[in-house]
């Protein structure tokens, strides 16, 4: 685990949140599946088939939730982010790893946001934008609590200021 993650840790609530998010997908698919079954099996089908179908969906749902929880735990354990002297390094994905390295000079924007579940859990996502589309897809640290989000934002902004901001007494434009 990187020093940055030790200092500004991910919240373990992230695992719960992501498990819930992925279960939404399952519920949507299950509803579509049920509607398809209704139109196919029609009204005349015996009740036993419906019971079997519902039981299968329920078992599937439980298996899915457990699998999703273990996957999210694994994802959480391999989630890597480090703010080094020159770059931000973010790497995630236990099965399909993707690592993005962004120099502080290239950061266009640092923003912090929350979706609905984040607000319920008190989690924050810290996004780092460069002038590319892929930075929006990969360069964010999601699922930190407020203190860590504030800390990460401050350290990022300080680094950006240090690298590209105007230095005192070095050709600063006059105020008037």
């Amino acid at each position: 685990m990187s020093k940055t993650r030790e200092q500004y840790p991910l919240s373990t609530k992230k695992i719960i949140k992501k498990t819930i998010t992925s279960s939404f997908a399952f519920i949507v698919l299950a509803v579509i599946f049920l509607f398809c079954s209704i139109s196919y099996l029609a009204v005349g089908a015996p009740a036993s088939i419906w019971l079997l179908l519902l039981a299968a969906l329920l078992v599937g749902f439980i298996v899915f939730i457990v699998a999703a929880y273990y996957y999210q735990t694994w994802y959480f354990a391999t989630y890597f982010y480090d703010l080094t002297g020159d770059y931000v390094i973010i790497r995630k994905g236990p099965i399909t790893p993707k690592e993005i390295t962004v120099p502080y000079e290239r950061i266009q924007d640092v923003y912090v946001d929350q979706d609905l579940l984040d607000r319920l859990f008190g989690l924050y996502d810290v996004h780092i934008s460069t002038a590319t589309i892929s930075s929006a897809m990969s360069a964010h640290i999601d699922g930190v609590e407020q203190a860590a989000a504030d800390g990460l934002r401050k350290i990022l902004l300080d680094k950006v200021q240090e690298k590209v901001g105007s230095k005192p007494n070095s050709g600063q434009m006059s105020a008037h």
Binding site: I100, T130, T132, I133, S134
Partner: protein
């Protein structure tokens, strides 16, 4: 710095493995497998009530058709990829990445290190299976035709090679080579900074 400039970094010393050519085939097979799985499920499940209308036999034919037609796409992708792989070369020089690409219309591209926005090292599922790693650098040019062609970059990253839009994709490296290429590029970005001391207090 002196050591770096002596080290030749190009498509000979950091080669793209030929294994990479199997990627389109593998991707489509996984896709066809998933579709077939659902077809089999659908055919076995939905024939509970009326076995006489749809037997599992029809599902078998459908799976065969899916796999047969899934081979046509990757076959052409592989020919295309093979030509792209043969006609793409790159050299990481001291101040620029110099690349050539194309069979009929040939283009050269020279990207200064100072404008690189981010460096990406990644493995998707096919990469993991084939034991290869994809290396990507990006600058900030906006080529809308390339963006439309590559659907915002996702498709491009999947199975492509060479430069297009703001991306340079070098797939099929070993993990060690990709990591060392990343270190080299990051070092060159640092030594080629826009406002370095070399410009003498701009």
């Amino acid at each position: 710095m002196a050591n770096e400039s002596k080290q030749v970094v190009n498509d000979k010393t950091y080669p793209i493995s030929w294994r990479w050519l199997l990627k389109p085939l593998l991707g489509t097979f996984v896709g066809a497998g998933i579709v077939s799985f659902f077809v089999i499920i659908a055919f076995t499940f939905f024939t509970f009530g009326n076995q006489d209308v749809n037997g599992p036999f029809n599902g078998g034919i459908l799976v065969f058709i899916i796999f047969f037609f899934s081979l046509v796409g990757p076959f052409f992708s592989m020919i295309f990829a093979f030509v792209r792989r043969l006609t793409f070369d790159y050299t990481f020089e001291d101040n620029f990445i110099v690349m050539h690409q194309g069979l009929i219309s040939r283009s050269q591209r020279n990207i200064p290190y100072s404008v690189l926005q981010n460096v990406i090292v990644k493995q998707d599922l096919s990469d993991r299976i084939l034991g290869i790693t994809t290396f990507i650098v990006e600058n900030a040019v906006q080529d809308f035709s390339a963006m439309a062609r590559n659907k915002g970059g996702r498709r491009y990253e999947m199975s492509m090679i060479g430069f297009s839009g703001n991306k340079v994709v070098i797939p099929g490296l070993t993990n060690d080579l990709a990591q060392s290429l990343k270190e080299i590029v990051l070092a060159k970005m640092k030594s080629n900074q826009a406002h370095s001391s070399k410009t003498g207090g701009l």
